[in-house]
């Protein structure tokens, strides 16, 4: 039976076990003093039987599927003649692949090489044995589990507690999957970065001021030794993020204050979702808005006052990115400002403070941790943003803090390094991982600072 069929049958079996568990618990209790005597409600007994039937069987199915192919392969290899087994690892792998393809395509009889033909038959036979054994073992486990749990049922059995334990563990498993994925990503970036630093010294990367990642493919090529100074990229990133924050923080904070303190309920119910739509616009749309509308506008504006503005400038990208992150600032700030207790405001009004004095001196300080959290979240978002910068800020890694010039950022360089043809062991490609690591460390620090600030100043009011 193929795995899908086993799964479907197993699910049917689980439903069946639920019902017999449910029924059994009622039957057992009515022999005694009736249903009130049962420790748990009948459906918990049903769940318990289903869990006993399901979990061991599913575990066996998973493990079997995980190890099946390697075991069958190694058995096939050991069935091959000794001369072939003595071949190098790569050749052996090729042969095994051919054998597998033969077995899957079902055209074994047409194969001329007798050794491969035999091996293919052998492989096929092993596979069918394995599938059959898997089916039998899984169902026997399910039935045994079901029977075992069914026989356990008596009025004193604490089925609810057992079911809840299983639920708790399944939640722990879900949480750890998310955490382990994160850890896995971090480690893969870390190891690739270490490989990069084997060919480029970390000091060159961290303190170099020239970024030109072209390396020569042939040794006799001229002029492309490659230099990996990441300073211009990080400066570009910080420049654009700073412009974005200079735009987003005042606009976002002011709109949050207006929405939470001044606006009528009707305006608020309409304006807040509208602002939040800004966060839902795809960044690529912002990107061409920046490149096609804002950048030319800034260039023309600059020309009219006698400034030379590059047609791809940090300013254009920063301004549009600032618009993009306004909702992060405004929405979070609005929430925390609304959460400041009315008693605070009353206290201030009661002493003859005006509305603006109350907002500046009581409401904003009380909401500050949340506001800072929102701003730092927006900053992380700005630092990690790619699309707008690719389109509007250019690709030239120039070390400058002039917002009117074209700059490039870490994320943009990662994109250019990893798109198109590439070789995975050249420093050029590996540099992307090092840049990613740098970016990751920066956003991690920002998040850490944000959490720290929030925790330190939280609960100052209740």
């Amino acid at each position: 039976m193929p795995t899908q069929t086993i799964l479907i049958t197993l699910i049917a079996l689980l439903i069946f076990s639920y019902f017999i568990g449910h029924k059994r618990s009622i039957a057992v209790s009515s022999l005694d003093k009736g249903r009130r005597n049962l420790h748990s409600r009948p459906h918990y007994y049903g769940y318990m039987v289903a869990i006993w039937a399901g979990i061991p069987a599913l575990l066996i199915l998973m493990l079997w599927s995980a190890f099946n192919s390697s075991i069958v392969t190694s058995l096939t290899v050991s069935g091959l003649p000794e001369t072939i087994q003595a071949e190098s690892k790569d050749t052996l792998g090729l042969i095994i692949n051919e054998v597998k393809n033969l077995a899957v395509s079902g055209q074994i009889a047409e194969e001329t090489d007798a050794v491969k033909r035999d091996a293919a038959y052998h492989y096929q036979r092993l596979q069918s044995i394995s599938t059959l054994a898997k089916t039998v073992v899984v169902f026997v486990a399910a039935l045994l589990g079901m029977l075992f749990a069914w026989r356990l049922i008596n009025p004193e059995l604490r089925a609810r507690n057992k079911v809840e334990t299983v639920v708790r563990w399944s939640m722990i498993v879900c949480a750890s999957i998310a955490i382990l994925t994160t850890v896995g990503i971090v480690f893969s970036v870390l190891f690739e970065s270490i490989r990069f630093f084997e060919s480029v010294p970390p000091s060159d990367f961290l303190f170099g001021t020239k970024w030109s990642p072209q390396t020569s493919i042939r040794t006799d090529q001229v002029g492309s030794s490659g230099s990996f100074g990441a300073i211009p990229l990080f400066v570009g990133t910080l420049l654009i993020s700073a412009i974005a924050l200079i735009i987003a923080v005042p606009l976002g904070l002011m709109s949050a204050i207006y929405l939470s303190e001044y606006s009528s309920r009707r305006v608020r119910s309409f304006a807040k979702p509208t602002l939040e739509i800004l966060a839902g616009i795809p960044t690529v749309v912002y990107g061409f808005f920046a490149a096609l509308t804002v950048a030319p506008f800034l260039r023309d504006l600059g020309e009219s006052v006698g400034l030379s503005v590059a047609s791809e400038s940090a300013l254009a990208a920063g301004v549009v990115m600032g618009i993009m992150i306004i909702p992060f600032v405004s929405s979070l700030s609005d929430d925390v400002i609304s959460a400041v207790p009315q008693a605070m405001r009353d206290g201030s009004y009661g002493m003859g403070a005006t509305k603006s004095e109350t907002i500046r001196q009581v409401v904003i300080p009380a909401a500050l941790p949340g506001i800072v959290g929102g701003v730092l979240l927006a900053a992380s978002r700005a630092i990690g943003e790619t699309m707008i910068v690719v389109m509007a800020a250019g690709l030239s890694a120039k070390l400058t803090v002039n917002p009117l010039e074209a700059v490039t950022t870490v994320t943009v360089q990662i994109v250019t390094l990893l798109t198109g043809d590439q070789e995975f062991d050249s420093p050029k490609t590996l540099a992307a991982f090092a840049l990613g690591l740098g970016l990751f460390v920066i956003t991690l620090l920002l998040n850490f600072v944000a959490l720290h600030i929030i925790r330190k100043y939280r609960e100052q009011y209740e």
């Binding site: 207790p341 008693a343 009004y349 003859g352 001196q361 300080p365």
Partner: protein, 303 residues
């Protein structure tokens, strides 16, 4: 099963007390006919709602929340340097009336106040009156202590800074110290003035709020159940404090505790269903109330 519930202490009774002990239709002593506590008519206010030396006075006060009327035609004077207590069952409008006196109801958009209200003869709802300046003259202490998330010093200095009451740092220091001393808190916090006000105990927080209100040098202090969130010891401290404050300030206090009203106030006003039922000297209200509703309330028949 119902019997079990009915006799269990602390459980709400399924049957009201009154029906178990029916009252005689005619009172044995006064010979007056009894009616249910709730449908006694309120025709104007009995007692002495008006005084000669009024600090604040209200005439024909109506308050509406949207379409719902919360206060019906209240006339009341608050005398100079007296403590007036406002009592009554929940929802009777006593807190609402208190908030009329410093226009705190302005912060509620659906609330509408009519009638004439004066402070030292000036119309406090007049076009010329700035509610902000009014609230500097009529301070308020709230039910739940609400210190700002600032240091103790900054909490007390808050109002003084707003209104520019101190011209330099040392004047401000003196003002903060004087206010804390008046509120009876200085001894406990004099070494911790830079610590957050929210770290104090509930009773200390409430005295901090009183110090904060005093620091603005108001003429009237409104207290909205200032001790309802406090334990008896902290309550006693604040009641003593109120007695000391009376020589300099006029105080109006809303309270649910009749003992508190009896202990601290000179006059007591009894509110019922948005109407002012009876105002009189506190002794008189608690020993010999004129109105049937007042008597029912202070003897604990309802409320």
């Amino acid at each position: 099963m119902t019997d079990v519930i009915n006799t269990m202490p602390g459980m709400p009774r399924a049957v009201p007390l009154e029906s178990e002990t029916p009252k005689p239709a005619v009172d044995a002593i006064t010979g007056e006919k009894h009616r249910s506590e709730f449908d006694v008519e309120i025709n104007g206010t009995v007692g002495k709602p008006l005084v000669d030396n009024a600090k604040m006075s209200s005439r024909n006060c109506d308050v509406f929340y949207g379409d719902k009327q919360a206060i019906f035609g209240v006339d009341l004077d608050i005398g100079n340097n007296e403590i007036i207590a406002m009592i009554g069952p929940s929802g009777c409008g006593k807190s609402t009336f208190l908030r009329v006196l410093n226009r705190m109801n302005d912060t509620i958009s659906i609330c509408r106040v009519t009638g004439e209200h004066t402070l030292d003869g000036e119309d406090i709802y007049g076009k010329k009156t700035d509610p902000v300046l009014l609230r500097a003259r009529v301070g308020m202490v709230f039910q739940k202590p609400n210190p700002f998330p600032k240091s103790i010093y900054d909490n007390v200095a808050y109002g003084a800074r707003l209104h520019g009451l101190a011209s330099n740092r040392s004047e401000l220091d003196d003002l903060v110290e004087a206010s804390l001393i008046k509120a009876g808190l200085f001894k406990e916090v004099k070494d911790d003035l830079q610590k957050p006000g929210t770290g104090l105990s509930g009773g200390q927080q409430q005295r901090l709020c009183i110090a904060r209100a005093i620091a603005v040098d108001p003429e009237v202090i409104l207290m909205d159940e200032p001790t309802s969130a406090l334990d008896p010891i902290a309550t006693a401290t604040i009641e003593e404090l109120m007695d000391e404050l009376r020589s300099n300030y006029t105080i109006a206090i809303v309270t649910h505790s009749m003992q508190q009203a009896a202990r601290v106030s000179q006059r007591t006003a009894y509110f019922h269903m948005g109407k002012l039922v009876e105002v009189n000297d506190t002794d008189k209200v608690f020993t010999n109330p004129e109105h049937q509703l007042t008597e029912n309330y202070i003897t604990g028949r309802f409320g």
